[in-house]
């Protein structure tokens, strides 16, 4: 069991800095999800922890000791790859036991450990099969099994579920979480899927362009996004962001006047989650609905505000609108997010 510490980690390819100083303390047994759009550096960060990429600057500590220079095999980590990276010519048992055999463990011991892991993952029946004879979910399990038998201090997951279909993904999400909790192993998990991040993480890092936009629990990030980027990346449908101006009497959006919970002054960006809007005949927001998408439990209403800005509202139940209807909406002041127009950082 181990803690992982990233201390101002940086990575450059030539003159191109792709990780611009990330710091993070991972507690023992904690499940950390690194989430962000493609190209944000999340995989690079994980691969630096794994030892597959060199660390340009900063310090990585695993279990309290510096690990920057250690080979992957000496870091006490195990990694599950996006495409599983199973050795195609080896059976399931051989795949899982390969690392142990290299370590020089006796055959019997390797076999016992492989059997135990297989049992845990319900792979016992499949031990003699080749990877190509397995379904996607089974391959995923084998990849996990390969990680488990090594009894590592840290699990690293690189988008492990992105090759599975939607239903299996939900199931595997649960399984991974349960397994990690049962084994109590510290885990770093990379994904671009914000639902995975929300459902699995103890804490998550929202990454953008090589920086950590926010580090916090899923609810933290959802309820108090630290930046415009984090605000828009987490949550579906994503948060409405509109230009507004804060004055003494409230927040002005075109002709509309909303409360000003932070007391900000001057031009700001105002963030309103679609699901926090409520219909109110005397509400301050006038939305001209252009398209209604009934999803069953709720309805998405896309349209334009009086000021001409695109806007989406998500209302519970079924809502039908006759074309070009103007809908009046309100929002609780504590659900309003105000961001600096220049820096995109949260105000208040």
């Amino acid at each position: 069991m181990a803690t992982v510490t990233l201390d101002n980690i940086r990575k450059s390819f030539g003159t191109d800095e792709v990780i611009k100083g990330v710091s993070l303390d991972v507690a023992d047994g904690e499940f950390i999800v690194i989430v962000g759009p493609s190209g944000c550096g999340k995989s690079t960060l994980l691969r630096m922890v794994a030892g597959l990429e060199t660390i340009t600057a900063g310090e990585l500590r695993i279990g309290g000791t510096r690990a920057n220079e250690r080979e992957p095999m000496d870091r006490d980590i195990a990694m599950v790859f996006q495409n599983y990276a199973l050795y195609p010519h080896m059976s399931v048992a051989q795949n899982m036991g390969y690392g142990l055999r290299i370590k020089g463990l006796p055959k019997a011991e390797v076999a016992a450990k492989v059997r135990a892991a297989a049992e845990l993952l319900q792979l016992s029946e499949l031990l003699e099969r080749k990877p190509r004879q397995l379904s996607g979910g089974q391959r995923q399990r084998v990849a996990m099994g390969r990680a488990i038998v090594r009894e590592p201090k840290v699990f690293l997951f690189d988008e492990p579920l992105s090759n599975l279909d939607a239903k299996l993904r939900v199931q595997m999400r649960l399984e991974i979480r349960e397994l990690q909790a049962k084994l109590g192993i510290t885990a770093l998990y990379v994904t671009h899927d914000q639902v995975e991040a929300m459902t699995m993480a103890d804490r998550m890092i929202v990454m953008n362009e090589g920086r950590a936009e926010q580090i916090g629990t899923p609810l933290d990030v959802y309820e108090r996004p630290a930046s415009l980027f984090a605000a828009q990346f987490i949550g579906s449908p994503s948060m409405n962001v509109i230009e507004a101006e804060g004055r003494e009497d409230g927040m002005h959006v075109g002709d509309m006047l909303l409360p000003n919970p932070t007391g900000a002054r001057g031009p700001v960006m105002l963030g309103l989650r679609p699901e926090h809007l409520v219909p109110a005949p005397d509400g301050p927001l006038a939305l001209r609905v252009l398209l209604a998408e009934p999803l069953g439990a709720n309805t998405l209403l896309h349209g334009m505000l009086a000021g001409g800005q695109n806007f989406t509202a998500s209302l519970p139940g079924v809502h039908t609108t006759g074309g070009a209807e103007v809908l009046h909406l309100g929002i609780a002041p504590e659900k309003m997010h105000v961001f600096d127009k220049q820096t995109g950082r949260r105000l208040g």
């Binding site: 691969r47 794994a50 095999m73 990694m79 790859f81 990276a85 050795y87 690392g99």
Partner: protein, 285 residues
């Protein structure tokens, strides 16, 4: 590769039979020289020298082949077969080994002068043995490798084609496999041996078929460096069985030898047809 097709564009009735007829005629024409050689290898010399020779096999199969295999003309054909086998296998195995190693180095490492070496290997494509025969002969003579297996094999062993084929294949192997191996604690040679090599099995086999035939069918090079009949390969030794001057050639034995000369490569090609076609199409990419 069989396509499941039926439907309007397919031929029926007359058209279909006509197509079969054309194919059969084509096969017969293509096969005719081989058939004739086989017939000639089963009849007596007088039957051949008084044309027209028969078109159906005679009863001298055993005698002629025994004569060829164990006495031959200059040297028993069995000896030449052995030489050909050693040369063909030597070239195929040698090329595969050095190409695997160099392709592995080029793909999986970054080292000084890597590009220079890559281009050097590439340039050997432009230097077929036919173009550099005299100086290569001198090199072999200088090493005292005339009339030796190493002399037959080494000058033909460096192959840019095989190196490129393996390089191409290695590049399609997912990066994650090498990473997984590193996480599992495998060093480069361990990765090469445990993972890359087993994964290359089909490519190696396909290439072996192509290279075996390449080696077996060599003519000019063995002609130059094997002056001792006991070092002749069968493909080049065949020509040496013709008498100089006006003597009449021993046709049944010569034709039996040509049949023997084509059996090993034909067997390899037919029995490994799928691999062979794959190797052919891949290696010419």
């Amino acid at each position: 590769m069989a396509r499941q097709v039926t439907g309007m564009v397919e031929r029926h009735g007359m058209g279909l039979w006509l197509t079969h007829l054309v194919m059969i005629a084509g096969v017969l024409v293509i096969f005719f020289p081989i058939w004739l050689a086989f017939v000639a290898s089963t009849v007596t010399q007088p039957e051949i020298v008084r044309p027209p020779m028969p078109v159906w096999p005679g009863d001298r199969f055993v005698e002629n082949y025994t004569a060829a295999l164990f006495s031959g003309v200059n040297v028993p054909v069995l000896v030449m077969l052995g030489n050909s086998l050693i040369m063909a296998v030597g070239i195929a195995v040698g090329k595969i080994i050095i190409s695997l190693l160099s392709a592995f180095a080029i793909v999986y490492f970054r080292f000084p002068a890597r590009n220079l070496f890559f281009w050097l290997i590439f340039l050997t494509l432009m230097l077929p043995v036919e173009v550099r025969i005299v100086p290569t002969y001198e090199v072999i003579a200088g090493f005292r490798m005339l009339n030796s297996y190493s002399g037959l094999i080494f000058p033909l062993i460096a192959s840019a084609t095989a190196t490129f084929l393996f390089r191409q294949f290695f590049l399609t192997v997912p990066d994650e496999l090498a990473e997984a191996a590193r996480v599992d604690g495998a060093g480069p040679m361990r990765f090469f041996w445990d993972i890359l090599l087993p994964m290359s099995r089909t490519n190696i086999a396909a290439l072996f078929v192509i290279l075996f035939i390449y080696g077996w069918n060599q003519y000019l090079w063995p002609l130059l460096i094997t002056t001792d009949p006991s070092m002749n390969t069968i493909v080049m030794g065949l020509k040496q069985m013709f008498p100089s001057g006006d003597d009449v050639a021993d046709w049944p034995v010569i034709m039996a030898t040509s049949i023997l000369a084509m059996i090993p490569p034909v067997v390899v090609v037919i029995s490994m047809q799928k691999l062979f076609i794959r190797g052919l199409v891949d290696s010419e990419k």
